[in-house]
Amino acid sequence: MAEIRNYTLNFGPQHPAAHGVLRLILEMDGEVVQRADPHIGLLHRGTEKLAERRAFNQNIGYLTRMDYVSMVANEHPYVLAVERLLGIEPPLRAQYIRVMFDEISRILNHLFFLGTHGLDLGAMTMFLYTFREREDLFDCYEAVSGARMHTHYYRPGGVYRDLPDQMPQHQLSPWTSQKDIDRLNANRGGSLLDFLWDFTERFPACVDEYETLLTENRIWKQRTVGIAVVSPERAVQLGFTGAMLRGSGVEWDLRKKQPYAVYDRLDFDIPVGINGDCYDRYLVRVEELRQSNRIIRQCIDWLRRNPGPVMVDDRKVAPPTREAMKQDMESLIHHFKLFSEGYSVPEGEIYVAVEHPKGEMGVYLISDGANKPYRFRTRTAGFAHLAAMNELVRGHMLSDVVSVVGTIDIVFGEIDR
């Protein structure tokens, strides 16, 4: 009788469910996975090394591109780290804006998770439904920063500029009719905050819509319940953070445990799972969508009532206004120095972590007193999650690998950096 051997299967990097450039070497026994060996590095861009050669403000753009699904939230730990080394505190309004945009990117990220997780498991329609809502949030990104994805919006000392009073309008083009334009512009009459408020009014109903398609769907439950179960102890040992940890029932959220920005002034809940399987992690993320929506509403409410500066009044860190530069020598010099040399940060080292949509994202910064970091290192959640891949998929079937890749919410920008 012929000897029966396991065979290896290359899953990715060119694979529809590889979420970018995941390369998994699967050792298979029939349909059952015996061992999974994730390979990383196909999207390595050398962010950490590049950051050592650039002034502090120039590095923000690299951070934005780390996890390219929740763009603006990546900038938060870095600007916090620089601020703490500098010993400055951004104005309260800037902190509220940051929290609001962190939560917008949490919604963006979880919508992306929901859409791709659904697509991976065959629920193709989810993808298009969630991207409909993502489009509105991208418009918010665009309105404040000019870019739909890579915003470069947070700066040490505050945010780049205040929220616009007017939402950009859709323009008539040969490809759109006046009727479409009117429909698209219907909720863009007011400021960005009005547009966002309108979004938060609509959004819970949208989440209900996603849930009717998935939550009680028998096939969806069969594909996710009991898949990749992680016990709370093991989740902590593996270094899980974010929804991966909370899905296992560990109540750990940096927004509550180590509040930064203005999270201690806001009212929101932390959902936790019970069984620690793919289904619980899905439920946790869906509930986080609703909680983020709540946080955004509180931020909008506060921001409407409290106008004010959004950048520190320190010309060593923040650029002067254009008008001042035309008349004032000092301002011109400040402007020139800031955009050529940048600012120097006092000697020291610091680690700052925030609750990124995917988990704990930390920035470790050593400054030797120069205008650029001596060493810059990031801790991203996805790396630890991917490292547990073998443990998560062992003994499951090939189709479950796809569920696990989805539930980890993998984005290679942050893993390969």
Partner: protein, 335 residues
């Protein structure tokens, strides 16, 4: 001479079935893209021709001009043979399908048996395709397909046995005649569980969502037809859609009274007509598309469990019930 005329006449008759069939096979993907597009709040194809109506022609042109690549380590003969097997099975079964009392290519007495026999040939095309491609993904796809087909042929077969018992005939035309007498004489009513199981099995048979593990786009990329390109891929595609129409046609003939009108007895509207048949077929095809837009994909072992442990017991139980009704003479549809 008379033989020659017979041959030509038969060929003409075959053409009269095949040409409309192939046209609908060509436009069904367009309908699918449009309908699923609207379900997914997008527009679907709208560039080629008015509202995209000429899209199938553009697709066909594109596929025809693409190179057919054969992988270096593939078995060339089998690789090129398998799409032919698939499409032959999918089209061959249409020989016995009646479209109305008189419109039938071959009024065969064992029509249903013939359809089942021919349509189970299709799986060989898939198995051979996966084997001949010499790719792990393709091979996994064809392995899954084999197991799935075996399981669902049985439940589908049992569901049809119920119809055969109820109608007392294997001839498709006679089965339709047996359902005469109005909406509640159609077999969907006494055999509702069989209809549901038949149609779900049919979706599984044709490897459509949510049972499309054979293709499993996000798992095994494209499954058995992963290595195929150009027309060799298109032939698989055509076979899949021809099969979809075939099983929808069977479902309408066997359970929804074929060309009989739901308003029997009413003048004009109550007349049996091919229009009713097409309407019923379109309804089942719409269900196909609706499933695809709504459901996630099953896992391969879950499909097996559903087939063996749920469907087959239910069909057997219902078969006994139908048999008992017929034997005791309580079968009201037979009068």
């Amino acid at each position: 001479m008379s033989n020659l005329i017979l041959v030509i006449w038969t060929i003409i008759k075959i053409m009269m079935v095949m040409v409309p069939l192939l046209l609908s096979v060509a436009w069904l993907p367009y309908a699918e893209r449009k309908i699923i597009g609207y379900m997914q709040i997008r527009i679907g194809p709208n560039r080629v021709g008015p509202r995209g109506w000429l899209q199938p022609i553009a697709d066909a042109m594109k596929l025809m001009f693409k190179e057919i690549t054969v992988p270096a380590s593939a078995n060339k003969v089998l690789f090129l043979l398998s799409p032919v097997l698939c499409i032959a099975a999918a089209l061959g079964a249409w020989a016995v399908i009646p479209f109305s009392d008189a419109l039938v290519l071959s009024n065969c007495n064992v029509g249903l048996l013939y359809v089942l026999a021919i349509s189970s040939m299709g799986v060989y095309g898939i198995i051979i395709a996966g084997w001949a491609s010499n790719s792990k993904y393709s091979f996994l796809g064809s392995m899954r397909s084999t197991a799935q087909m075996v399981a669902y042929e049985i439940s589908m077969g049992f569901a049809l046995v119920g119809v055969v018992v109820g109608a007392g005939s294997l001839n498709l035309g006679s089965i339709v005649h047996a359902q005469q007498g109005g909406l509640f004489h159609w077999f969907w009513f006494p055999m509702l569980p069989l209809l549901v199981i038949y149609f779900i099995s049919a979706v599984a048979e044709t490897n459509r969502a949510p049972f499309d593990v054979t293709e499993g786009e996000s798992e095994i990329v494209a499954g058995f037809h992963l290595e195929y390109s150009g027309m060799s891929f298109a032939v698989f595609f055509l076979a899949e859609y021809a099969n979809m129409i075939l099983v929808s046609m069977l479902a309408s003939l066997l359970f929804l009274g074929g060309w009989l009108s739901p308003f029997e007895g009413v003048p004009i509207l109550g007349e049996p007509s091919i229009f009713w048949l097409l309407l019923k077929v379109s309804f089942f095809l719409l269900l196909y598309l609706w499933f695809r837009a709504t459901f996630p994909r099953y896992r391969y072992d879950q499909i097996m469990r559903l087939g063996w442990k749920v469907f087959i017991p239910i069909t057997i139980a219902w078969l006994l019930l139908i048999g008992a009704l017929v034997v005791t003479g309580w079968a009201w549809w037979n009068v």
